[in-house]
């Protein structure tokens, strides 16, 4: 099938190019300047059933033989265009191969309308299951209803849907985004140790559900656990180091660098930008209390160097793998519609990472 896809793409490209070129010679139409097309950024990986030789796997294969191979659409908002997606996909593909699942992966680039359209395509293709990572959780209900009406189980990954929509899904695996923000706040409170401090907060992409949940988790936990910590300002850094640096720099200028004793950023990429901004303003970074989320290849060395006081570990491989295991459970009847079954909610372990445990293999960075 992989060959047929290559053939499809190659034949389309060749035919279109030749026809257009030929047409250009005879046709007098005018066209234009350069442009570019966002186009659908969909991505697919096809996996085949691998031979297994142990007893458990043989039993699994017996199930596959009876029910599979399964066709599954994975509607994601990111892929190899983001560091997290780059390391999320390989374990997803490996697990799919192990379980006899053919994956068709799309990437909506966080455009809710585009993801909704991809959902329509997926439902029309009548797969055995859909893995859905919502681009915008609030807008996903029509997709869930369409899939349910077509009898296609939907498993949610990475960022959960709204509580009123959970009954339309077969389960969720991923992070507790609110809990991650709360964990980062707990570290901030712990490091502040009762002192009156002011902090600035760098959030993720505005409107993104993970960004909203992490931000709320941080703010509400700070208000509850340590009222001695005051959030002086907050700005979006859009999951981007450069934009975070600008946002942090502006906030520091706005509230006055001397009034800031701490920084929180919703992920390690952004905290790196915020640290650079603080250093550029002449602040002693070691003297600031800085917390984040991710424990990434960028964040872990910052913890080691002491610039970053604490971060929260997030495993992209766990996320990708369990998305496939979740939909497999739904397709084989292990979990049913709703969240009542034991295995229908799988939260990723999110241990705190500080100078004490940054080199622990259990929290080795993955992305």
């Amino acid at each position: 099938m992989r060959k047929s896809r290559v053939t499809f793409a190659a034949s389309m490209l060749a035919a279109a190019a030749l026809t257009l070129a030929a047409c250009g010679g005879s046709d007098d139409s005018s066209s234009a300047d350069a442009g570019s097309e966002d186009t659908a950024a969909e991505e697919t990986v096809e996996e085949t059933v691998e031979e297994t030789d142990d007893g458990e796997a043989a039993e699994e294969e017996a199930v596959d033989t009876a029910d599979g191979p399964f066709e599954v659409y994975a509607l994601l908002p990111q892929g190899n265009d983001q560091p997290y997606g780059t390391t999320y996909l390989p374990p997803m593909e490996e697990t799919a191969a192990e379980l006899g699942i053919n994956l068709t992966i799309t990437n909506s680039e966080y455009d809710a309308d585009k993801q909704a359209s991809e959902c329509e395509v997926a439902v029309a293709a009548q797969p055995d299951g859909i893995i859905l990572w919502p681009a915008v959780a609030d807008s996903i209900r029509p997709c869930l209803e369409a899939a349910n009406n077509a009898g296609i189980p939907v498993w949610i990954t990475n960022a959960d849907v709204n509580p009123e929509d959970t009954d339309l899904t077969f389960g969720y695996s991923g992070t507790d985004s609110y809990g991650q923000g709360a964990a980062s706040a707990e570290m901030m409170c712990e490091f502040a140790d009762g002192a009156e401090i002011g902090v600035i907060q760098v959030n993720g992409l505005t409107g993104n559900s993970v960004a909203t949940l992490r931000g709320n988790g941080f703010k509400e936990t700070i208000a509850e656990l340590c009222p001695n910590v005051t959030i002086l300002a907050e700005q979006p850094g859009n999951w981007n180091k450069d934009e975070s640096q600008i946002a942090a720099s502006e906030m520091l200028t706005s509230v006055g660098p001397d009034n800031v004793q701490g920084i929180y950023a919703a992920d390690d990429t952004m905290v790196a930008g915020a640290i650079d901004a603080a250093a550029a303003q002449g602040l002693d970074v070691d003297g600031l209390i800085i917390t984040s989320i991710g424990n990434t290849f960028l964040g872990n060395p910052l913890v080691e160097s002491g610039d970053l006081d604490g971060t929260v570990f997030q495993s992209s491989s766990w996320d990708g793998e369990n998305a496939v295991r979740g939909i497999y459970a739904a397709m084989t009847g292990e979990t049913d519609l709703g969240r009542d079954d034991a295995g229908s909610v799988l939260y990723m372990p999110n241990p705190k990472v500080t100078a004490q445990n940054y080199d622990d293999p259990a929290v080795a960075p993955e992305w």
């Binding site: 389309m12 279109a16 047409c23 234009a32 265009d81 799309t106 309308d113 959780a137």
Partner: protein, 343 residues
């Protein structure tokens, strides 16, 4: 006794059926878009027939890509650009969802599109700012406004059931989005081809000074074009918000480039004066069918991007004007080299 002599000039000199076909073809701009669409339809029909079996899905994708492009074409025909369409879409949706009364919300959203179009036109035609710069500023301003109004979070409709009902097929398998898209196409096509004011868009885009000298109210036409673009973008925002039951302040992030791509593939000349609404429809159809086919075929993202990029480049470079320009440059280069040894 007088004797009448008829002299045929230019294309009129061409005789026979082939000559007439060439004459008609030379006046049209959709040729390459049509050829591309034909190729895509044939190849997709052979390799991924589900695209046509599930035609309501494909039509939905074409409508998603095309509706904003149709409005944008009204501006492109006059040689202007409107980079604010995606932000207009987003802010209109947010305004609509922020008003509890759905009817009032829709009216407010559509009015927003018209006002945005008027402001754009004011800066372009009255103040004299280049439309690229004026609408770029509007792009950022409206995106910020959407975030402010929505408090930086998606705004759900008060009655989600209405939105879900809106997304259901209305006539046969056709959803309201598809029907509205068809109506918008007919309305704009009739306007630019049958109504005097609409036909004057081509004159404004072709030679603005000549259009003024001919008594065409250029400023008024620019206002009309931008208001059409703004209105259609806000209409897309209303449709998206209804179908998703939520207005997202980040909505439309992929709309702008897709709209321009549809217009370019459809043969519209970005400098104005040449092009057609039918061409944009063809471009949107080609892109929509291609996107659905590639999704179903599971072609990888990077390959898709290469694919679309190559099609756009071919669409631009096979423009006869471009080919003539390249040929002229090569001729000049050759002549220059021929002279240089003796000089």
């Amino acid at each position: 006794m007088s004797q009448t002599q008829t002299i045929s000039l230019g294309s009129a000199a061409q005789e026979g059926v082939w000559g007439r076909i060439r004459t008609v073809a030379s006046r049209r701009t959709e040729g390459r878009g049509l050829a591309l669409l034909a190729v895509i339809i044939i190849v997709v029909a052979l390799l991924e027939p589900l695209v046509f079996t599930a035609y309501q899905v494909t039509l939905g994708r074409i409508a998603l890509v095309g509706i904003v492009a149709l409005g944008l074409t009204a501006v492109i025909l006059m040689g202007e650009l409107d980079l604010s369409v995606a932000s207009t879409l987003a802010v209109s949706g947010v305004i609509m969802a922020s008003i509890p009364d759905l009817t009032l919300g829709i009216i407010a959203a559509l009015a927003t599109g018209l006002i945005v179009g008027m402001i754009n036109a004011f800066f372009v035609s009255v103040v004299g700012i280049n439309s690229f710069i004026a609408t770029l500023g509007m792009l950022f301003a409206l995106r910020g406004l959407a975030f402010v109004i929505s408090d930086e979070a998606p705004v759900s409709l008060t009655n989600k059931d209405v939105g879900i009902a809106f997304g259901q097929p209305l006539i046969g398998p056709l959803t309201p989005r598809i029907l509205i898209f068809v109506l918008v196409f007919i309305a704009i096509q009739v306007f630019v081809s049958r109504v005097k004011a609409g036909r004057e868009f081509f004159a404004v885009g072709g030679n603005r000074q000549a259009a003024r000298d001919a008594g065409i109210p250029v400023t008024r036409r620019i206002f009309t074009g931008f208001m059409i673009s703004g209105f259609v973008a806000s209409l897309a925002g209303v449709i998206n918000t209804l179908e998703r039951t939520t207005a997202d302040p980040t909505a439309g992030s992929t709309v702008l480039l897709a709209s321009f791509a549809a217009a370019i593939i459809g043969g519209n000349y970005l400098k104005g004066g040449r092009g057609s609404i039918v061409g944009t429809l063809i471009g949107a159809a080609a892109l929509g069918i291609l996107q659905v086919a590639l999704t179903l075929s599971g072609v990888q993202v990077p390959v898709q991007q290469i694919f679309i990029g190559v099609i756009l480049l071919v669409a631009v470079t096979t423009d006869p004007n471009s080919l003539r320009s390249v040929a002229g440059s090569l001729r000049t280069l050759r002549q220059g080299r021929a002279k240089s040894p003796g000089s």
